[in-house]
Amino acid sequence: MVFTFYLNAQPVTVDVPPDITLLALLREHLGLTGTKCGCGVGECGACSIILDGEVVNSCLVLAPQVAGRSLLTIEGFSGVDGGPGDLQQAFIDAGAVQCGFCTPGMILAAAAVLAKHPHPTRREIADGLAGNLCRCTGYQQIIEAVQLAARRRTEVAEPSEQAVPDAESRTWKN
């Protein structure tokens, strides 16, 4: 079936079978393999994307359900220069990436946390990432990465002596 939606702020029209998941549409048909397929049943969070501002598991969304709606995937996160966005840079700097398989989903879930809580507590971060499994890091570095990103955004919003934007001031594109 034919339908149109907004993918990382660009309109996309597809003609696909009506019974595939959004995850299959993104990975198999649009070639956006940044969104990972882990469990396929909504338990691991590797396929997390943001649908109209809410983090969801793309493996549990039927593709035609996104008709007319806005999606953000990990491919929409790069900084203005095409390099990592601020959240991605914070993950790198905090050592929150090991094998990297959970990272795209973690970034999306973390973005949803920061959108709701610009100055999140550890509890708010842990609750916000509760649907994302990581078998490498033990989560501590991931929570610290989100704290680091929040701190950097605050510093950018309220610049002290150094007002020149640097790699750390890249903002999340929506």
């Binding site: 909504g42 493996c59 549990l60 969304v61 035609p64 359900q65 649907g131």
Partner: protein
């Protein structure tokens, strides 16, 4: 013969019912998809036509009218956690929905889906039974108001119909002094299937005696039901530690009377007593015993 497998999106309740009824093939309603698509992934469910009801405005209503709260079937768990009417009037439902899955699941999964899937471990169902909720449903035979406990009962007629579409839930607004508690035991905090849960609602009269008590364990019996023997122990009594322990003991007995002794009984009989005691202490203001 060509067989079409399809997806349609309903824009209104009338259209949704029409779509479910018009087709002789296997039609399934789709809202959040958190159960349906997970089952489909495992090959446990198929369909000819999916009727997407997630965007139907009538199914997303949360309102209070003449002493009744109305909660639409496609209200997500995340909305239930945060909506002021649900948080203030029936915090039990907000707590139960907060215990479900993860942020991703709560953003998609709906209360109607939790009831419609009718798992014995469904988190929102004990809360709705405890709140004396009924559901407005459409079936091939017409529309009905059905108590939640009847709707989810495995042997009941509602589970045998070709299709049942839930429109909304009605909950009598609890009296102002009513207090509620919800506990869930799972293997971990997030993404856990309930091993056991308890929805509890209680109110004291002016003399400090129990005027109202509703006790509904989850993941305990084939479908959530009120534990009337526990409620009978509490009604009219002064709340003491001894009463809490007696209620817990009776709760364990009633569970065994319903389910018989199962592999999990040694654990659950102690756990259900503890949850009942804890709820009584919390709701009626006894000090917690460590």
């Amino acid at each position: 013969m060509i067989k079409h497998v399809g997806y349609v999106r309903a824009e209104s309740w009338t259209e949704a019912v029409h779509m479910m009824a018009a087709d002789q093939r296997v039609c399934r309603p789709l809202a959040g998809g958190t159960d349906l698509l997970a089952l489909a992934h495992k090959g446990l469910v198929t369909w000819d036509l999916l009727v997407d009801i997630s965007q139907v405005a009538e199914l997303r209503v949360v309102a209070e009218e003449s002493g009744m709260l109305r909660v639409g079937a496609a209200v997500t768990h995340a909305t239930a956690c945060e909506h002021p009417l649900i948080r203030n009037r029936i915090p039990l439902l907000a707590s139960a929905c907060r215990a479900i899955g993860s942020p991703q699941i709560r953003n998609r999964g709906t209360i109607g889906g939790n009831v419609g899937n009718a798992a014995a471990c469904a988190d929102a169902v004990p809360a709705l039974v405890c709140l004396d909720a009924s559901a407005r449903v459409a079936t091939p035979d017409g529309e009905y108001d059905v108590p939640i406990a009847d709707l989810v009962c495995p042997s009941g007629r509602w589970r045998q119909l070709p299709w049942v579409l839930i429109r909304e839930f009605s909950v009598p607004t609890p009296l102002p002094d009513t207090r509620m508690a919800h506990f869930k035991i799972g293997r971990r905090q997030a993404q856990a299937i309930a091993r056991l849960s308890l929805a509890f609602l209680g109110r004291l009269d002016d003399d400090g005696r129990v005027a109202e008590a509703r006790v509904v364990p989850g993941a305990c019996t084939p479908s959530p039901q009120r534990f009337d023997r526990v409620e009978a122990v509490l009604l009219g009594a002064k709340v003491t530690e001894a009463l809490a322990q007696e209620a817990g003991r009776v709760g364990s007995e009633q569970m065994i009377a319903i389910t018989g002794r199962r592999w999990s009984t040694r654990y659950k009989s102690e756990a259900i007593s503890a949850l009942i005691e804890r709820s009584i202490r919390l709701v009626f203001g006894l000090p917690e015993v460590m």
